[in-house]
Amino acid sequence: MEKTRLYWSFSNFQIFKFSNYTMSQFSEERLAKVKEIIARYPDGKQKSALLPVLHLAQEQFGWLSSETMDYVAGLLKIEPIEVYEVATFYSMYNLKPVGKYMFEVCQTGPCMVRGSEDIIEYIKQKLGIKVGETTPDGLFTLKTVECLGACGYAPMMQLGKHYREHLTKEKVDAIIEECRRNAAANN
C-alpha cells in the first residue's frame, strides 16, 4: 500500500511537466456531457457512466492521475477505489503521462504474419526509443497492443482516435512528419 501511495504522489508531480492543467476539473461543456451520459441509465445507476467519463477525462488531461480519478469518483458519487479498480483493468487508460502522439502498434498473429515486427523495429530506430518509452521532447510514445480488429488491413496502428492501416516504412515516415508538423503548428 505504501508503495502505491508513493507512486501516485510521484505521478502527481509529473502532471506539472506534461500537462497544462494542474487541477483536474472539467469544463462546463464536459460537465454537461457527463450529465447527458448519466441520464442514459436508470436512476441510481450512475456508476455505469464510469467508462465513458474516464474517456472524457483522458481526452482532457491526457492521462489519469489519482487526482483526476478522485474527481471522477466525486462526480459519479462513488468511492475512489471503484474508479481505481476500473482504470487499472482496462488497457486504454493511461496511468502515467504519455507523449502527445501515441503509436499503438498491433502485434497479434494476423498483423505479425503481415510484417508488424518490422514496423515496430523501424519505429524504434526512427524515434530512438524502446516499446513503452516516450521521446525526450514528449512528442511520441511507442506502445505495442493486442488485436485491434483491423486484421485485413495489417500491419496497422492506432493513432489517437483513428487507425493507420497498410503500414509501410514510408508511411511511418510520413506519419511521423505529419505529427511533427501538427505539433509545430499548434505551438
Partner: protein
C-alpha cells in the same frame, strides 16, 4: 455469386446516410414488425434458424424466447460490438458502412423483447465509430423510428452507444454487462443467465452486431424463406473477415454453400495466396478455434470436401476439424512458423485474461513463457508435453470460455504440428533463421496452385 442479404447495398453511394438507406428500402422491417406481435417476431426468428454470429452459434430465436418477463421490471437489449477476436473485423465493417442496418435490426429486436433502452457496447479502440452510429441514431430519431411512440405504435425506444476501454474479455456477455455497469470486466458465474438477471439485475439479451443486422432480412423475407438459404442448420448468410497471407483480405458475405477451397482461391473472395506461395495452415473462425493444416482444411478426415458452414467446419470434432466461430479467417502461407504464430496468440490470451480464475490467469502466462522458449530455441522436449498438460487443465475449468479459447489454439497446434515443435527443440539454432516447411501439405497435387 452467392446470395447477399447484408452487404447487397454496401456499395451504394451514401448508404451510410438515412435518405439513401430509406430510398433503398431501409426500415421496411420495422414497419412490418410494428404490425406484428412481439411473440410473432420471436417466432419468425426461431423459424429462420438464425444462429448467433458472435462465435458460439446459439440459435438467436431461442435466446430471445428465454427472456424472463417479471411484472414491472424493465428488460434490456444489449448489442455486443466488442469485436476483439483476432482475425475478426466484420462488425466494424457493418457499423462503419451500414450503420442504419444495425439500427434497424436493433429497433425490431427491441420491440420483440420489450426493451425501451437499448445499448450498443462497442470496443473502445473503435473510437470513431460511435460518431457514425450516433449520427445514424439521430437521423432515425428525426424520422420517427426512435424515441417516443415510434411510427404511432405506442412503442418507445432509445438506443445509446457505450464505449469499452480495451478488454477482449468484455466480448463475453456477462463481462460485457459488468463493464456496462461501470465495473471491471469479470465474467459472472452462470446461472443466473442474463435472460433472467442481466444488466442492473434486469432480464437482458446480448446479441452480436451481425446477428441483429440479420434480423432485418429475416423479418423482410419471413423466417421460412430465410431458412431456405444455406444448408442444414447453417441458415442464411455469414460474414467472413479474411486476413493473413491472401491476395484480397477483407469482409465477404457467403451463403454457406461454397467450399473452403473456393473461398480461398476464387477471385470473388480471397483470391489465392500472394507470390505463388502455398497455403500451410488456416484458422477458419477467429484465433480461438483450432488451426487446421492444409490437408485437413480443404477435405474432412472422411475425404469429403469441406464447406464454409457451421457443420462442415466442425466435422471431425477437434481431432480433425475446427469451428465456424466468429468468421475470422486467418491464412498462413508456407513461410509462416506455426510455433511463432501460436506464441502471439498465447501472448494475446495472457494479456486479456481477467485474472479471476487461477487456471486461466496462471496457465496463460505459463503457456506464453514455454512457447517463447521453444520458439527461441531454448525449449526442451518435455516442454511440449508440459504445454499439452497446461492447456488441458485450463479447458473447462474456468468461469467463462476465455480459458477454452486460450487452450484450444495451443492444443490444436501441438495436435497437428507436433513435429514442428520437436524440430524447434532439436534445431535450436536453425529455428531462429529457418522454417519447418510444409510437411502437412498432404494433397498438394489436388489443390489449385
Amino acid at each position: 455469386m452467392g446470395v447477399k442479404l447484408l452487404l447487397d447495398k454496401a456499395h451504394v453511394e451514401g448508404i451510410r446516410y438515412y435518405d439513401v438507406y430509406r430510398r433503398e428500402g431501409g426500415y421496411r422491417s420495422v414497419e412490418k414488425a410494428l404490425k406484428m406481435s412481439p411473440a410473432d417476431i420471436v417466432e419468425e426468428v426461431k423459424k429462420s434458424g438464425l444462429r448467433g454470429r458472435g462465435g458460439a452459434g446459439f440459435p438467436a430465436g431461442m435466446k430471445w424466447s428465454f427472456i424472463a418477463k417479471p411484472e414491472g421490471v424493465p428488460r434490456h437489449l444489449v448489442c455486443n460490438a466488442d469485436e476483439s477476436e483476432p482475425g475478426t473485423f466484420k462488425d466494424r465493417y457493418l457499423m462503419e458502412f451500414l450503420p442504419h442496418l444495425l439500427i434497424e435490426g436493433l429497433i425490431v429486436a427491441s420491440f420483440a423483447l420489450g426493451s425501451n433502452a437499448t445499448y450498443i457496447y462497442i470496443r473502445g479502440e473503435y473510437a470513431w465509430i460511435p460518431d457514425i452510429l450516433e449520427q445514424a441514431i439521430n437521423e432515425a430519431k428525426a424520422n420517427g423510428w426512435l424515441g417516443k411512440n415510434i411510427q404511432g405504435s405506442g412503442f418507445d425506444c432509445e438506443i445509446y452507444v457505450q464505449r469499452g476501454a480495451g478488454a477482449y474479455i468484455c466480448g463475453e456477455e456477462t463481462a460485457l454487462i459488468e463493464s456496462l455497469e461501470g465495473k471491471r470486466g469479470n465474467p459472472r458465474i452462470k446461472p443466473p443467465f442474463p435472460a433472467v438477471k442481466g444488466v442492473w439485475d434486469r432480464p437482458t439479451v446480448v446479441n452480436n452486431v451481425e446477428t441483429l443486422a440479420a434480423v432485418v432480412p429475416v423479418i423482410n423475407m419471413g423466417g421460412e424463406e430465410y431458412s431456405k438459404i444455406g444448408v442444414g442448420k447453417s441458415t442464411g448468410t455469414k460474414l467472413i473477415s479474411a486476413c493473413g497471407n491472401i491476395n484480397k483480405p477483407g469482409v465477404y458475405e457467403i451463403d454457406m454453400t461454397i467450399s473452403v477451397e473456393e473461398f480461398v482461391y476464387s477471385d470473388e473472395y480471397c483470391g489465392g495466396i500472394p507470390n505463388g506461395k502455398r497455403l500451410k495452415a488456416c484458422i477458419p473462425g477467429g484465433s480461438s478455434v483450432p488451426i487446421l493444416p492444409a490437408n485437413l482444411l480443404f477435405k474432412t478426415a472422411k475425404g469429403e470436401q469441406r464447406m464454409m458452414n457451421y457443420e462442415s467446419l466442425s466435422d471431425g470434432g477437434f481431432a480433425t476439424g475446427s469451428m465456424m466461430g466468429s468468421g475470422g479467417f486467418i491464412v498462413l502461407d508456407e513461410d509462416q512458423c506455426v510455433v511463432k504464430h501460436t506464441l502471439t496468440l498465447a501472448r494475446f490470451y495472457r494479456h486479456e485474461s481477467c485474472g479471476q480464475c487461477s487456471p486461466c490467469r496462471e496457465g496463460t502466462g505459463w503457456m506464453e513463457k514455454i512457447l517463447k522458449n521453444i520458439e527461441t530455441g531454448k525449449g526442451k522436449m518435455t516442454d511440449i508435453d508440459l504445454l499439452w498438460d497446461i492447456q488441458r487443465k485450463i479447458e473447462g475449468n474456468t468461469i467463462c470460455p476465455l480459458g477454452d479459447a486460450a487452450a484450444w489454439p495451443v492444443a490444436a497446434a501441438i495436435r497437428h504440428f507436433r513435429d514442428e515443435f520437436e524440430w524447434h527443440v532439436n534445431n535450436p539454432e536453425l529455428c531462429l533463421t529457418q522454417n519447418f516447411g510444409l510437411a502437412h501439405y498432404a494433397d498438394a497435387r489436388e489443390v489449385v496452385a
